[in-house]
């Protein structure tokens, strides 16, 4: 039904759970190449683990610039967990490593004494004032509860005097709170969606997030399987 869906082989991702989640949506994951990074209608940048190791892999394979260019051009790109963090310029996890740099902010450690990793289900907070997607309503990040597993995070930009959360590097910001601080849960600009949380592990909320991104990218999805022969109304 669908063309294969490329993912960037960062060398530090667990593809099995992503593959299972996308399989349920009718998508087949394949490793990306420099060519497919540039031209594919949709691309996933996954990652778990080490910012430094992932950056090295991206540089070595010549992926860094290709990913930045397609994201700047607004081509559908989904970054997950470390995959989101890689779009930033640097990380305290690996001083000296340089990320893709689309997001002009550093990844930082969680506060000393905080539960670390930040692991479990947390609320994704969306500005009430954030404008809905003008083209379609199905690509927006919505408020909900998602699964996170991160020891490092991207600080959310402080609210303006108006109370509104400003964009970060031209991207709309959704946040989560941990240890009294607001961090970025997701960034979105058009069809580029970067999630700190794991949509593939976030049950219905995650399924809706992936569906929204895929549909905005023009891909058809399998209907969510009904539960126990009854329609699932979520």
């Amino acid at each position: 039904m669908n063309r294969p869906l490329p993912y960037v082989p960062t060398g530090v991702a667990n593809i099995a759970s992503l593959a299972a989640a996308f399989d349920r949506l009718g998508q087949t994951l394949v490793p990306a190449t420099r060519q497919s990074i540039a031209t594919a209608d949709a691309l996933i940048v996954p990652g778990v683990g080490n910012f430094g190791a992932a950056c090295k892999t991206l540089q070595r394979e010549g992926f860094t610039a290709a990913i930045r260019e397609r994201a700047l051009a607004g081509r559908a790109t989904l970054g997950i967990c470390l995959g989101m963090q890689l779009f930033c310029r640097s990380s305290e996890e690996a001083l000296g490593s340089t990320g893709i740099g689309l997001v002009d902010a550093p990844i930082v450690r969680l506060p000393a004494g905080a539960r670390c990793p930040h692991m479990g289900w947390n609320d994704v907070c969306v500005d009430a004032a954030m404008p809905a997607n003008e083209r379609r309503d199905d690509g927006a990040v919505r408020a909900g509860t998602a699964y996170f597993a991160n020891s490092f995070a991207l600080e959310a930009p402080s609210r303006l005097a108006s109370g509104r959360r400003p964009q970060l590097s031209g991207m709309d910001v959704a946040t989560f709170e941990h240890a009294g601080c607001d961090y970025v849960a997701a960034l979105r600009s058009g069809d580029v969606l970067l999630c700190q949380f794991h949509p593939e592990l976030s049950s219905r909320y995650g399924d809706a997030t992936l569906r929204g991104w895929l549909q905005a990218a023009g891909r058809e999805c399998l209907t969510r399987a009904p539960r126990n022969n009854q329609d699932d109304t979520c």
Partner: protein, 267 residues
């Protein structure tokens, strides 16, 4: 903020879900994928699969069970039981686990936790600890500080104090979570060992999962109040004494914030 996690644990033996009491007398409870899917759809925040097979023959079913469960659950999946080497960890992650739990091997091979964290990320490394309280006299109160670590399915003495072991093992940042099981509470329905939970909470900032002894929602609340970030339930679910939605509804009634399920049955 993070909500407390209700984790459904499935002990697997030769590809079937089983449950015992104090690690003894196993009984068959069903198919792993079927149960895991039901619990996940019902709102379980995570699934843990523990392979408790004693024989290599039985162990051969484990990876197939992981893959079958992975296909049907869209919440995090942690797998453990007999994980000895980095290669074991790779195999489980490739089969679909998000996290790998290590118990005996973490004690016997001190460099393993760091090696796994370097290869998979610390978020994927769970330190499983089986604890047995050591009372000075049979009638003395359990002293959480004296709880000792047992390995090899509870059969092996280590001489390690539980609190010391967890403090040391989590200090280096290689461990993403601690899964702490009270052997003498396991399957008894007498409640989690909250004294031990509090003692462990004091020595690490790593997420802590309480395991062993749950029978009532009040038990779950007590464990969370003692410092656990998550509670593991097994017998309560497999024996069908309760369901995940019922548990979560009860916890809500007790004032515990939980991730809501799709449907919470009316009492």
């Amino acid at each position: 903020m993070l909500t407390p996690r209700i984790i459904a644990c499935l002990d697997i033996d030769a590809g079937r879900v089983v449950k015992g009491t104090q690690f003894q007398e196993l009984r068959d409870c069903g198919d792993p994928a079927e149960l895991a899917q039901r619990y996940a759809e019902d709102g379980a925040d995570e699934i843990v699969l523990l392979d408790i097979s004693a024989t290599m023959q039985s162990r051969a079913h484990a990876l197939a069970a992981v893959a079958a469960v992975r296909r049907v659950v869209d919440v995090p999946l942690c797998v453990g039981g007999g994980v000895r080497t980095l290669a074991d960890g790779h195999a489980l992650l490739a089969a679909g686990a998000d996290k790998v739990a290590v118990n005996t091997a973490a004690v016997e091979s001190p460099e393993l936790l760091r090696a796994m964290a370097d290869a998979f990320g610390s978020q994927a490394v769970v330190l499983a600890v089986d604890a047995l309280p050591v009372a000075a006299r049979p009638d003395a109160a359990e002293d959480a500080a004296a709880s000792q670590v047992r390995t090899r399915a509870g059969s092996q003495h280590t001489g390690l104090l539980c609190v010391d072991w967890i403090r040391t093992a989590t200090a280096g940042g290689a461990v993403g979570e601690v899964l702490l099981t009270s052997i003498d509470r396991d399957g008894t329905g007498e409640g989690y060992d909250t004294q031990l939970l509090a003692a462990v909470r004091a020595v690490t900032t790593v997420p802590l999962i309480a395991s062993g002894g749950a029978r009532t929602p009040a038990h779950l609340k007590s464990a969370l109040a003692a410092g656990a970030d998550a509670v593991l339930v097994a017998s309560m679910l497999h024996d069908r004494r309760t369901t995940v939605p019922q548990l979560k509804a009860a916890l809500q009634q007790l004032g515990v914030a939980i991730r809501p399920t799709v449907s919470i049955p009316t009492p």
